[in-house]
Amino acid sequence: MNFSLTDDQSSVLSGLDQLLGQFDEPGVRHAVTHVYSAALAEALAQAGFLDVAREAGFGALDAALLVERVAREPHVVEAGASALIAPILPIDAGVRPIALLSGDLTGVARFLPVASLLVVDRGDHALLLPVDRDKVEPVETLLAYPYGKLAEVDPALGTRFEDVKAIRRRWRVALAAEAAGCMAAALAAVIEHVTARFAFGRPLGSLQAIHHRLAMASETAESTRWLALRAAWSDDPADAAVAAGFAQSRIAQFTYDLHQFSGAMGLTLEFPLHLWTYRLRALASELGGASQQARELAKTVWGEAA
């Protein structure tokens, strides 16, 4: 048991921080629901970060660390599926961005308007479909990702992949790691706000009601982070369900509190909080939501009914 970064991990994250530092700000000053950055996605890919799990001596844990760190950025890029799921799929390295979907092939999916590949969980198998972006209909939403759907899909164009459980396991890890990054960034933004904003002659953040609920929010963020990293390390289905389910079960309270403490500012697009909280709210329902992860977890740990 050792919670410190290895030298290799420190080196990767330090390089990542340098790269992310070059993509500071522009775009997020605009009043928009999300800021997808194709340039950042390209830079991450070019520098090899999104393929870190394919490198000798690296693996899913390193990919999860990367996903968590990238999710703290106000810009949104598709990192979870590329870094954590792509390495287990029968596809060439570099096929990205990847959109993920459960069930109906024509459902609405995160990142579909920018994706090269759509991975659909069909229950007993997965279907890997190349995406013709010209055929993707963008979907307007408050949820802070680019969303889209395909009007029609020919399943015959897809590649069948049998190990759908492995996809779900990695999807849960990616979801939890991304949620952890969003939580950390959203919490930091609100701490800054309540420290700077004065009411009744004192900083808002000195009120005990706010102390307590932000302290609880920090427990949520820390638990989400460590559960996600453990799940990435073990690549175990129960750990993955714990990580995703825990994150999803806490998102409603976490996002409510953070918006509440930001007052009316938190309802504007000018204040960047929504760039993380509306990613979290999108993640809350993915893969069937917290209840689905919980029931999967129960079956994995304790088995079916006798």
Binding site: A215, R230, W233, V242, F246, S249, E304, A306
Partner: protein
């Protein structure tokens, strides 16, 4: 970063499980449900801790010069996890090995070490913690029990409350204040720590009947009790530093989530036996309780990891404590809703867990105090303005 156990750690855990299997009497469950402060468990703890001492499993984490083996922090923590999950057969003595001993080693005189460490090492010492008072619970600095300096020592007057194990204790780790009239400084600086002999004349112990278990909480009255100077731990004015050191060790010393985790297994087995496990709602709720246990586990491990790597303590221990309280209560709530018969005589172990869970947010100071500490020391939020 590594979240697994070494082969040595796994073997250590197996060794402890085997020892528990081999040693615990057939009526252990019956003994353990009364709680660590009960007559039955206190009596058994002396037998059990003596055995642990004999097998080198009581204080291996202590330094060699104090009778330990300098064993890694994780080894002791694994022992704690297994003990707590088994109902804590060390009884009150877990406290001695977790923090009383280490605090004495850090701040005690050679004479104090000679006097107090051997009984702890033998598994034959019961200590109690004289911290809380009727008007000073979580606000420990408000304590008013006085220690008036007299020739050769102090005269202690006042009372303590919620004191676990006091009815059986040989010694009390007692906090008292030098009164201003006797030259005591203001605030925390006036507090002294007195390693008080519980057989001293003038001490009266009264058990408080409670929901949380037999013999767990008491009132202790001190009526002009003489404590010799050689029983004062540290210098006058140093007590707060020592208390903080002690609390850091205490707050992560108990692996409560592990007992809760195993209670969940027990609950699911009962639900299966009753033919109710197919209910998706029950599965959902059981797994959500499990998630809380695993979150608490990871945060506690993060604290222990810091200790194992000799990092300076930080406020993360408070974050972990909050998660542990959520886990204990999450499991308790689940069982109370879906297995209420456990509290109606069908499962005494469930009732014992219930009793520990309802105390989880209060024992060692209210969990809301931890939230204050997280806000100020972990998140860096501004403090509340001082009252005028």
């Amino acid at each position: 970063m590594e979240f697994g156990w070494t082969p040595e750690e796994q073997a250590h855990r197996q060794r402890i499980r085997a020892l528990l299997e081999e040693t615990l009497p057939s009526n252990w469950e019956e003994i353990s449900v009364h709680g660590p402060g009960s007559d039955a468990q206190t009596a058994y703890s002396k037998e059990f801790c003596a055995l642990l001492a004999e097998r080198g499993l009581l204080v291996p984490h202590w330094p060699v010069e104090h009778g330990g083996e300098d064993a890694p922090v994780w080894r002791q923590f694994i022992l704690g996890e297994e003990m707590w999950a088994a109902g804590e057969p060390r009884g009150a003595q877990y406290m001695n090995v977790n923090w009383v001993g280490p605090v004495l080693m850090r701040f005690g005189t050679p004479e104090q070490l000679d006097k107090h460490l051997p009984p702890v090492r033998r598994g034959d010492a019961i200590w109690c913690q004289g911290f809380s008072e009727p008007s000073a619970g979580s606000d420990l600095a408000a304590l008013s029990t006085t220690a008036a300096p007299v020739e050769g020592g102090y005269r202690v007057t006042g009372s303590k409350i919620w004191t676990s194990y006091a009815g059986k204790a040989d010694r009390c780790f007692l906090l008292a204040r030098i009164p201003p009239a006797a030259g005591g400084a203001a605030g925390k600086a006036a507090i002294v720590i007195l390693l008080t002999d519980m057989r001293s004349p003038g001490i009266q112990v009264k058990q408080i009947p409670a929901l949380v278990g037999e013999g767990d909480i008491h009132e202790v009255f001190f009526d002009d009790v003489f404590v010799p100077s050689e029983d004062r731990l540290g210098a006058e004015g140093q007590a707060w530093e020592i208390i903080n050191f002690a609390l850091q060790n205490e707050r992560v010393g108990i692996a409560r989530y592990e007992f809760s985790r195993r209670m969940l297994d027990r609950a699911v087995a009962r639900l299966k036996a009753q033919g109710r496990w197919g209910d998706a709602v029950i599965q959902d709720r059981a797994a959500r309780a499990l998630m809380l246990c695993e979150a608490a586990r990871m945060l506690v491990y993060r604290v222990v990891d810091g200790k194992a790597r000799d990092l300076p303590p930080d406020a993360f221990a408070s974050v972990a404590r909050w998660a542990v309280v959520q886990a204990d209560n999450g499991v308790n709530d689940f069982m109370t809703e879906f297995l209420p018969d456990g509290l109606l005589g069908a499962d005494p172990v469930q009732q014992a867990h219930h009793q520990r869970a309802i105390a989880a947010g209060v024992a060692s100071g209210a969990a809301e105090i931890q939230l204050n500490l997280i806000a100020r020391r972990w998140l860096g939020l501004p403090g509340e303005p001082a009252r005028k």
